[in-house]
């Protein structure tokens, strides 16, 4: 035994705590290797459950050039060990973000990863232009949004379009730029290479997988948008394989592993697969304190793995 995750009750999520094991991601030090995943963190909600500065990083909801309404409801359905969501990037737009959410997060001393959303190259460029001079610590370009650019498919599925977009954004800012990849492709190593060629400083993966549920009483889709994105523990093995593949294709690229993480042990598995850090998504919807709990559990597991902990501090990934 011995190696089991610690009891959830043994930490106070508001008590200041000095993590022993951090991670350097694209030149920036996270105080621990655990962040929130975009779209599963809102300050007014999550801030009631833990001190947000305790986490390695806070990745915010996708920010678009103008306010977006998102999809009609219902926006969620359940699936075995997972969930399907079609929130549709509802957000009040980059101007509101810069005036309201970002200053609040920075006032709390969080390391902020601003997630960038767009329907077109132009959209992304507008947001990045405004964020370039902001207090955001890192940008995370979410190229997994369906529609526009490529006939029903997202820019993140077309290596050529992706490289072009990343190169354009790269020229607009000195901030560390993470490109967030979609698993809904034939070969994620190919899109990873395209992002790297375009100048990405780091990659985060994976975003959700396309999925749906139907109501067997009515025979109709449950989600108004029909399909949505699958997240949660169900996708963990798929996410691990994506991280593994990309790590083999790009030995030196910083990778943020995402997908189904709900314990320190899950996070550790991603680090062994080649991630430099992780983000916790759907698990935080079920257990609001999940990100901090994962960070604490991982801390203990890293205590007994000094070689791995040391590599992370040096900005390196685990070597198989």
């Amino acid at each position: 035994m011995g190696d089991g995750p610690m009891n959830a009750q043994t930490f106070d999520p508001f008590e200041p705590y000095d993590y022993r094991h951090g991670s350097v991601v694209a030149g920036l030090r996270w105080k621990n290797p655990v962040g929130t995943a975009s779209g599963t963190f809102k300050l007014d909600a999550c801030g009631e459950y833990y001190d947000v500065s305790q986490l390695g990083a806070i990745s915010t909801k996708g920010v678009s050039p103008v306010p977006w309404e998102g999809n009609p409801t219902p926006r969620t359905a359940e699936s075995p060990s997972g969930m399907v969501n079609a929130v549709g990037l509802q957000n009040p737009g980059v101007d509101h973000y810069l005036l309201d959410e970002l200053p609040k997060l920075k006032a709390l001393d969080a390391l902020v990863v601003t997630n960038v959303a767009g329907h077109s190259d132009e959209d992304y460029a507008q947001v990045v232009a405004k964020l370039a001079q902001s207090e955001a610590d890192m940008l995370e370009i979410n190229v997994s949004c369906p529609n526009v650019t490529h006939g029903g498919m997202s820019v993140g599925t077309d290596p050529i379009a992706l490289e072009r977009l990343v190169r354009r954004l790269r020229g607009m800012t000195d901030k560390p730029m993470i490109v967030k990849l979609t698993p809904n492709v034939t070969d994620i190593a190919e899109t990873a290479r395209a992002a790297a060629d375009g100048g990405a400083d780091a990659l985060s993966l994976i975003n959700t997988l396309v999925g749906m549920r139907l109501d067997t009483r009515t025979g109709r889709p449950i989600i108004a948008n029909v399909t949505g994105g699958v997240s949660g523990p169900a996708i963990l093995p798929i996410a691990l394989a994506c991280v593994w593949k990309v790590r083999r294709a790009l030995p030196d690229m910083p990778i943020i592993g995402i997908g189904g993480i709900s314990s320190g042990r899950d996070a550790l598995e991603f680090l062994y697969a080649g991630a430099n850090a992780v983000e916790v998504g759907a698990a935080a919807l079920v257990d609001p304190q999940a990100p901090v709990r994962v960070a604490h559990e991982l801390e203990e597991l890293l205590d007994r793995r000094p070689r791995l902990a040391d590599a992370l501090e040096k900005g390196q990934a685990w070597q198989q």
Partner: protein, 233 residues
Amino acid sequence: MLTIRDAPVARNARPGQFVNLYPNDRTAMLPRPFGIAGVHGDEFDLIYQRVGAGTRAFARLSAGDPIDLVGPLGRPYDLTAAGDYLLIGGGLGVPPLISAAQGLAGRGDVRAIALFGYRDARFADGLVGRFADRTLSVSACEGNVITLLDRIEPELEVEATTILSCGPIPMMRAVAAWAGRRSIRSQFSLEERMGCGYGACLACVVDTTDGRLRVCKDGPVFAGGRLEWETAR
């Protein structure tokens, strides 16, 4: 009905708030939100209907079984005004109104009148009757809550009346229209499929005059005038 012992929830819950229950079956991830139907000591009550796997599992729980929950959650009813409160509930919308009646009970400056519409069995008349000053109810074959509203209207003084309502959208839409025509203050409690139930994911939105807001965090209680009833489902 499920009674849960959880001292912090029972102590802090205010009428109109809800709790998220989590099925013990860990393949089920999402919260099951339920309106709090009343508190007593360190316990609180839920009234629920069996719908799917989660509620079926709750129905199989025995006394003493543990259950995961988060709460109390959401914005409660605003009960600061004095005067008459009309508690208008339909179907499974009654639990928060029973709470509201409990919250109003014993206050000298208010009168609580429950107007409940049922599909068939009048299961909540007794529960609300312990707290409300008066209880009127109607079952589907006899009419609906608007029938009751019309009946009670002559007794009401518009400025001193507050409507609290929870139930199916068509019922609430009718109540909102009825109240709007008479300029009676109203508050509505909504339901929506949730992802997190505490405000993090934006799954549970409703259109309001202030834009798309979260039912779980900005609601579930909204002032009648703020809701866009055309797009509500």
